[in-house]
């Protein structure tokens, strides 16, 4: 870990300005991802702006939906009464992730921005375009069982590894931000994470210094809500494949997949296939898949996982 300086921001606008005005600064929230990466010198910020005291730690009713402050912990969000009742897919997704201790510390914004778990990204001796742009990608031709099957590129085949965002994708959440110039915007979650392309080190559409303030969830969808996370052990592991789904009594619904792509993977045309069953949905959603030999199983696994969800929805 490199040494760094640290300050605590007083307001969201100050925080955004502070990051923009330092050459190599980052926000720190729960620190559960950033500090690990700093210890390994995968991230080497010279200055940290702690956003922990910004008061953005409430869940409020907003129109037909709710607004979640960026500092709401994963634990608090998943346990919140309105979330449990109106957005149970979100509760289930969050509780399928990490561990109780981590969820106590992990924040909503930090979780959206957690970085990939590719094992080569984590080893600074290895080439990795995401960690060291232009150095190559060790995972291509290497060990890629855990990595992406769709939306990947010749530069990077990693996944966005998180769970919470997969549920948020199915709920059509929006990420609300403030920029260093004080302007605010709302980014549909569909557009928030980028596909890797030639620049896998740029992972979201956030601009330098842009601070997440809230996540907005629109009107509840009703239906039966599922989060099925398949992994090698029963907890404390990232998804091989996960399925977030909201299924209406008539068999229509919405579905997003985790553990397969640089972002929560949802294809609206595939949603429309839900009444035709899992195969139809997955065939459409993964039509452009480019798996490796090691991770090709993720596509049939996605199909089987969704089939299980649909069977449970009928039960």
């Amino acid at each position: 870990m490199r040494s760094f300086t640290y300050e605590r921001a007083a307001t969201p606008a100050d925080a955004a300005r502070a990051v923009a005005s330092h050459p190599n600064a980052k926000f720190i929230a729960g620190g559960t991802n950033l500090l690990d990466l700093m210890k390994l010198e995968i991230e080497t910020p010279a200055h940290l702006i702690d956003v922990g005291q910004l008061g953005l730690d409430r869940i409020e009713k907003a129109g037909d939906g709710i607004r979640i402050g960026t500092l709401v912990s994963n634990t608090a969000l998943s346990a919140h009464e309105r979330v449990r009742e109106d957005y149970p897919v979100l509760t289930r997704a969050i509780q399928a992730g990490a561990s109780g201790q981590l969820r106590n510390k992990a924040t909503t914004g930090g979780n959206l921005l957690q970085r990939t778990r590719c094992i080569y990204f984590y080893d600074t001796n290895m080439p990795c375009n995401k960690r060291a742009p232009g150095s190559g990608c060790a995972a291509i031709g290497g060990i890629s069982r855990q990595l992406g099957v769709i939306g990947t590129s010749d530069a990077c085949i990693a996944t966005y590894p998180g769970d919470m965002a997969v549920a948020m994708r199915v709920l059509d959440a929006a990420v609300e931000t403030i920029r260093p110039d004080g302007t605010m915007r709302s980014i549909p979650i569909a557009d928030f994470h980028r596909l890797w392309g030639d620049t896998p080190h740029i992972e979201t559409v956030l601009e330098p210094g842009e601070l997440i303030t809230h996540v907005y969830l629109p009107k509840p969808l009703g239906g039966k809500q599922f989060y099925a996370k398949v992994r090698d052990r029963r907890s404390y592991a990232f998804a091989l494949v996960s399925v977030a789904a909201v299924i209406q009594p008539d068999g229509t619904g919405w579905v997003a997949f985790g553990g397969v792509a640089p972002k929560p993977w949802r294809v609206p045309e595939a949603d429309a296939m839900l009444p035709h069953g899992a195969k139809a949905v997955v065939d459409r959603a993964f039509a452009d898949a480019r798996p490796t030999e090691d991770n090709a199983f993720k596509i049939p696994l996605a199909r089987r996982t969704l089939a299980g969800v649909l069977a449970d929805a009928k039960a």
Binding site: M1, R2, S3, K39, L40, E41, R117, I119, Y120, Y122, D123, N125, M126, A138, G141, G142, I143, R145, Q146, A228, V230, R231, D232, R233, R234, S235, Y236, A237, F238, L240, G277, A278, F297, P300, L301, R303, R304, T305, A307, G308, A311, D312
Partner: protein, 731 residues
């Protein structure tokens, strides 16, 4: 004292403390943070500086340059010991790979430098400033590729490898199985990393460390550093898990010693977790071929087990055939064990070396044979259970073996009769449910072991020995033994372990620790009893020691009457033991549920029934066995060091990507001990269990998965990607 004939009736047959479930005497210290582990021993040496180990970025080749200037100038840095500036350290007979080998790189993350600074953070930050250049070498990293050319490993054990004419018997057997199995490289993944504080006083070195074998390690460190062993003290009172990974001196001790010398201050360091998988030793991967030929009555007539593994030296691989001649008789036998040269990190002992992966093949093959015969797998094992003598060269007598009782007891307790013989018959909603069984064998070796037992003026007893407690419960069984032999309550006994200044014990390894160390303590107690007798004028051997008193006929003395006394004693194990096969036996059962949609396997229940002679402390023995069952579950379902064959290293080198089981994986475990005694092992008639528990449960799980799904998998770990396409079709 020499154990020269089978134990007769003795005080342990009337025991009040030995054999009773006893909470760990070190438990209160551990749960209140007062049992300091190596890295936490802040008070043993003043002014400790912090070390940080730098590992090689390549697997094979050499260092061409190291730029240390920036690191040396970094804040707080006291010194750097670097491969380019230091001659390679020596070797010991226990290590295969260089621990600090100069500029030649033999494996990934080999230690190439240690940075010492005033603080941990400064040492770590400075280490990041070292720039190393390498010339890449060619290495051999692919076991499957080199296995066919691997030579037979030399065997140091009695020759059980050939019996009768296997080829002919196999060819004529009416029912046969011939299958290949593979097990991956596995990591010990113990919770406490390697850690050492080193301090020099003149030419004398002390290391406070975490090590299973204090006396071995003292000698090894002397040979590695090229100094006399009597100038070295090793102290390892608490060990946060070892599983064989801490049998030896590793880079933490070597680098701490070199660093302490270089900066002329005590240095403490712990190996950072990402280095723990490649800098250390591991259990080598195996390829195994098992052939079984049987008559229609289930009796095995031909049994062959061939094994291929690799190691950095081309020797001492993972011999997975060890249990095969011990578990099942069979008139015709062929065993072959081959080791290939590989440039991966060093392979070495991990909990039940050889046997753990060996059972994962043999005991699945037995399940396959049972199916081919249309015979119950429990019955098949009973039919082939070795009884009386163990055929081989030389033929051996069996000391005490109750495998059949293990199997029958387990079958009854587990509800084995509910199992459907045909696979894929039990379905509960989405879940395919299955039951599996496996037998287990692990040798019960002994090693000579000594202790010093002292009587305090107040009548308390103190035991000192260099025996280690690696979480196994040694403190407690040693206290129980001394309390029993000296006739005092448990809370009147103090135990000090792990210091090389104390008498040399067996140490913790190979499942020999419990049997050997307690025998050594007993030997010292016998000597102390004699001394007490001499002091007070009676025959200590004939007296009864109970309730803090020694009594003989009319005479009775409080122990404190003797004043302070101290006796050492050593138990040596006589040659008569060699005439016997002294083993431990188990029957393992598992129930699994496999999700018919996703293929996720959940273990529902596990049971192990163990036959290991007297169980000195059923409470801690149980925790050994269930811990081993967890480890077996990991080996079967998730654990897999992924070899990146291009770069030559274990790529998943942290605890996020090397997946050991979590609590949610292990809902219910039972362990039953048979009330057996083995008079051939020691006066306590007690054998070890720590490794027995990992010999077989994995195969029971694999067999249960087959019983649930009808899909036979022979390549571990049994992850769902390997069988997804063979699960029931879905809509």
């Amino acid at each position: 004292m020499k154990f020269e004939e089978p134990a007769g009736q003795n005080l342990f047959d009337r025991a009040k403390i030995v054999g009773k479930s006893t909470p760990r005497i070190d438990g209160p210290l551990k749960v209140s943070g007062r049992a300091p582990y190596a890295y936490e021993r802040h008070d043993v040496a003043p002014n400790q500086a912090y070390g940080w180990i730098v590992g090689s970025a390549i697997a094979k080749g050499r260092i061409t340059a190291m730029n240390l200037a920036d690191a040396r100038r970094a804040p707080g840095v006291l010194g750097i010991v670097a491969a380019t500036e230091h001659k390679p350290v020596g070797t010991s007979r226990f290590n295969h790979a260089p621990l600090f080998g100069g500029t030649e790189i033999a494996h990934y993350h080999q230690a190439i430098a240690v940075v010492v600074a005033e603080t941990f953070e400064q040492a770590r930050a400075a280490a990041g400033l070292i720039r190393t250049e390498y010339a890449d070498g060619e290495g051999s990293f692919d076991l499957a590729k080199v296995a066919p050319g691997a030579p037979l490993a030399s065997e140091k054990l009695p020759d059980y490898n050939r019996l009768g004419d296997f080829q002919a018997a196999f060819a004529s057997a009416p029912v046969t199985v011939d299958q290949r199995y593979t097990t991956p490289d596995e990591a010990h993944a113990m919770m406490e990393p390697f850690a050492t504080i080193a301090a020099w006083e003149g030419d004398a070195l002390t290391i406070w460390t975490s090590n299973q074998m204090v006396a071995w390690s003292k000698r090894a460190l002397a040979s590695i550093l090229g100094m006399p062993a009597d100038k070295i003290r090793v102290d390892s009172p608490y060990v946060g898990g070892g599983f064989g990974g801490k049998l030896f001196i590793r880079a933490d001790a070597v680098m701490a010693a070199l660093a302490a010398k270089a900066v002329n201050r005590p240095v403490k360091l712990a190996m950072q977790r990402p280095l723990m998988f490649n800098n250390s030793t591991h259990r080598p991967a195996t390829i195994q071929r098992v052939r079984l030929g049987a008559g229609r009555d289930g009796r095995i007539t031909a049994i062959a087990h061939e094994n291929w593994s690799g190691n950095i030296t081309g020797e001492d691989g993972e011999n997975a055939t060890l249990q095969t001649p011990k578990l099942y008789t069979g008139a015709n036998r062929l065993l072959e064990n081959r080791t290939a040269q590989l440039d991966l990190p060093e392979g070495n002992a991990m909990r039940a070396p050889g046997e753990a992966p060996g059972h994962m093949a043999l005991e699945v093959a037995m399940d396959e044979l049972a199916e081919a015969l249309g015979m119950d797998p429990v019955e098949l094992r009973i039919v082939n259970d070795a009884k009386g003598n163990l055929p081989g060269e030389p033929e051996m007598k069996i000391s005490d073996r109750n495998l059949e009782r293990c199997l029958r007891t387990g079958a009854e307790r587990f509800g084995w009769s509910a199992r459907k013989a045909a696979p894929a018959q039990m379905r509960e909603g989405r879940k395919l449910v299955g039951l599996g069984v496996a037998a287990g064998y692990r040798a019960a070796p002994t090693q000579k072991s000594a202790a010093r037992v002292s009587l305090g003026a107040d009548g308390t007893i103190a035991v000192e020995t260099d025996m280690t407690d690696i979480g196994t419960g040694s403190y407690t069984i040693i206290a129980q033994t001394a309390a029993e032999a000296m006739g005092v309550p448990l809370n009147r006994v103090r135990v000090d372990l792990g210091d090389s200044l104390s008498p040399v014990s067996a140490g913790s390894g190979g499942q020999w620790g419990a049997a050997s160390s307690t025998a050594g303590v007993y030997a010292a107690c016998v000597n102390l009893r004699r001394m007490i007798g001499e002091k007070l004028g009676f025959d200590g051997d004939a007296a009864t020691f109970a309730n803090g008193h020694a009594t003989l006929g009319e005479q009775s003395h409080a122990l404190s009457d003797a004043g302070a006394l101290s006796a050492t004693g050593e138990m040596e194990f006589g040659a008569f033991q060699k005439e016997y096969d002294i083993g431990t036996y188990a029957a393992h059962f598992a129930e699994v549920a496999v999700d018919a949609y996703t293929g996720e396997t959940s273990i529902r229940r596990m049971l192990s029934v163990c036959d290991a002679g007297r169980i000195i402390n059923p409470l801690s023995a149980r925790s050994q066995v269930i811990g081993a069952m967890v480890m077996a579950a990991g080996a079967t379902l998730t654990e897999d060091l992924h070899v990146d064959k291009r770069f030559g290293y274990f790529a998943n080198h942290d605890l996020a990507s090397y997946e050991v089981p979590v609590h949610a994986d292990i809902p219910s475990q039972e362990c039953i001990f048979l009330d057996t005694l083995d008079p051939m092992i020691s006066p306590l008639k007690a054998k070890g269990v720590g490794e027995l528990g990992i010999c077989g449960p994995g195969a029971a799980i694999a067999n249960a998965v087959y019983n649930a799904t009808g899909i036979r998998m022979r390549d571990y770990p049994l992850t769902l990607d390997k069988y997804l396409d063979r699960l029931p079709a879905i809509a």
